[in-house]
Structure formats: C-alpha cells, structure tokens
C-alpha cells in the first residue's frame, strides 16, 4: 500500500518536473551571471580558476555559511554522542605491527598532500584528505588520539579567522568579505588577494571538522 502511494506520488512529481525541464534544454549557452564571472573573474579576483573565484570571492558568504553547517554538525555530533548514556566499552584489538608502522609512515605524507591541495585544488578537497589521514590514524594506531577538544578548538579558530577576514574587508573597504589585499595577474601563491588565505582557512576548518566527526563516531562510548 505504502509503495503504491509512494510510486503514484513520484509519478505526479516526475510529470510536473518534466514540464519545467522542457524550458531548460541541456547544453544551451550559459547565463548572464555566469558569463560575467567568466569575463571579469580573472581581472576582478586574480584567480585563474573561476569556480574558486566564485566560491571564495563572489559567493564567499555561502561558503562561510557552509563551513558553519559542518561546524554545527561536528558540535551536534559531540552533543548527541558524548558519554552519559554509555552502553559499556567495546573491545578493541591492537592493530598489527605492519598496519601500525604503515599508518605512521603514511600519515605525514597525507597531511602534506592535503596541505598542498588546500592551495592548488581547493579547500574542501584538501580538508577531506586531511580528515582521511586522521581516519587512517584511528584505524591503525588506536592509542594515539587527539582530544576531541583540540579538533573543536581548531575548527572554531578557523571559523573565527574567516569572520575576522570578512570584518577586515568591512574595515578596509566597507564591504564584508571584500578582497582587500592587492591582486596581480601572475599565477603566484598570493596573487589572488585573500582567496588563498580563505581557502587555506576553509581547508583547515573542514579538515578539523570532518576529523572531529569521525573521531566522535568511532569513539567507543
């Protein structure tokens, strides 16, 4: 019964959406806003990756909101899963020697790769890579734990840095999140004003938030 209702409902929705999709043919030329960003983006922001320019400059406010969402998830996870209604410890076996050594060797490499990605790929991806490094450490070397508090502290420092950069834009140029540093056309690390700084902050923040989420989930409560 439930299935039939669900399928009927979905068919109605599908027919409606089909009507609207006819107005959005696939592969047709892009929009006013997108064209503007492509034409002016490199001049206005100094970033040769237009997606980066949009994420970190034109729509940086969204990105601030988004790292806040992840922060809320990390905090909320901590609030939901903190001990209190504990149901006894799960038994953990120590990892084998090979795994242990392998993890310890790989961990710094992953961190370096993640940091590289902060600047050259993007903040979120770099953050996810760093977090996967922490996942590895938890799987391999269980006794080595970073306290939950440190992750939250790192995440909140990242968030605070983001807000402070925004407020500096307000102070120096009367616009929140203004790209107030000088920009140059060359493809140097800091050629795009505050963009690389913000992206590094995002990566740092996303990394510590995801690591905190993993840490909370994996913790034996």
């Amino acid at each position: 019964m439930r299935r039939i209702i669900a399928i009927l409902l979905l068919i109605i929705v599908a027919m409606g959406i089909n009507l609207t999709l006819a107005k959005i043919p696939f592969g047709t030329p892009k929009t006013k806003v997108g064209t503007h960003y492509i034409k002016e983006g490199i001049k206005q922001t100094g970033s040769d990756n237009i997606v980066t320019a949009v994420v970190v400059d034109y729509r940086a406010f969204d990105t601030l909101g988004e790292v806040t969402v992840l922060f809320i998830a990390a905090i909320g996870l901590g609030a939901v899963l903190t001990a209190g209604a504990g149901v006894g410890n799960r038994k953990t076996q120590p990892a084998s020697m090979v795994l242990y050594t392998g993890c310890r060797l790989l961990f710094p490499l992953i961190l370096i790769f993640g940091t590289y990605t902060f600047f050259h790929g993007g903040g979120f991806q770099g953050g996810a890579i760093v977090a996967s490094g922490f996942l590895l450490i938890y799987l391999g070397c269980r006794e080595r734990r970073i306290s939950q508090r440190a992750f939250i502290l790192a995440a909140s420092l990242g968030g605070l840095a983001f807000v402070v950069i925004g407020l500096m834009g307000l102070v120096f140029g009367s616009y929140f999140l203004l790209n107030f540093l000088p920009k140059s056309a060359s493809n140097m690390l800091f050629s795009a004003g505050v963009i690389p700084i913000i992206y590094a902050v995002i990566g740092f923040k996303v990394g510590s938030e995801l690591a905190s989420i993993i840490d909370n989930l994996i913790e034996e409560s």
Binding site: V51, T52, R90, G121, Q125, A128, S132, L135, L210, I214
Partner: protein, 79 residues
C-alpha cells in the same frame, strides 16, 4: 563519449536500485558509494573537475567511511 556517459548513467541507476533493495547494509552502502563515484566521473565529463574531486573525496570515500563506522556500531542487517 555520449555512449560511455549513457553506460555510466545506467550503471549508476542500477547501483542506486541495488542500494535500495540490498538487505545487507554494508553492501547497500558500497552500492551507494559506487553511485557517488560514478557521479564524480559524470561531473568530470560535465567539465566540473573541482566538483568531481570533492564528490570523490567527500561524497564517496568519507560518506562511505562514516556509514560503515555507524553500521559497525549498530546492526548490519535490515530487518
């Protein structure tokens, strides 16, 4: 190119259906991760390399990891 994309879309939809009907939750999660991974490839075809990388790193790998951690702390089989 378009045939390859169509093939991938079909595989992706089959994976999604599989994720819906598998009774073993770990298998279902792996099917869902496959869906994410193929979506990442499709993002690459659609000229969105940044998104493809983020989807592969966050959508496929990390999501699957947290699903598996959560399943290991609850029940593995759907009843």
């Amino acid at each position: 190119m378009i045939l390859l994309a169509s093939f991938l879309v079909v595989v992706m939809l089959v994976g999604a259906v599989a994720a819906c009907i598998f009774r073993d939750l770990i298998s279902a999660v792996i099917a869902a991760a496959l869906v994410s991974l193929i979506a990442a490839i499709l993002f690459y075809f659609l000229q969105a390399p940044d998104v493809a990388m983020a989807e592969a790193a966050i959508g496929a790998a990390l999501t699957a990891a947290i699903f598996i951690i959560a399943i290991s702390r609850t029940k593995r089989h759907e009843q």
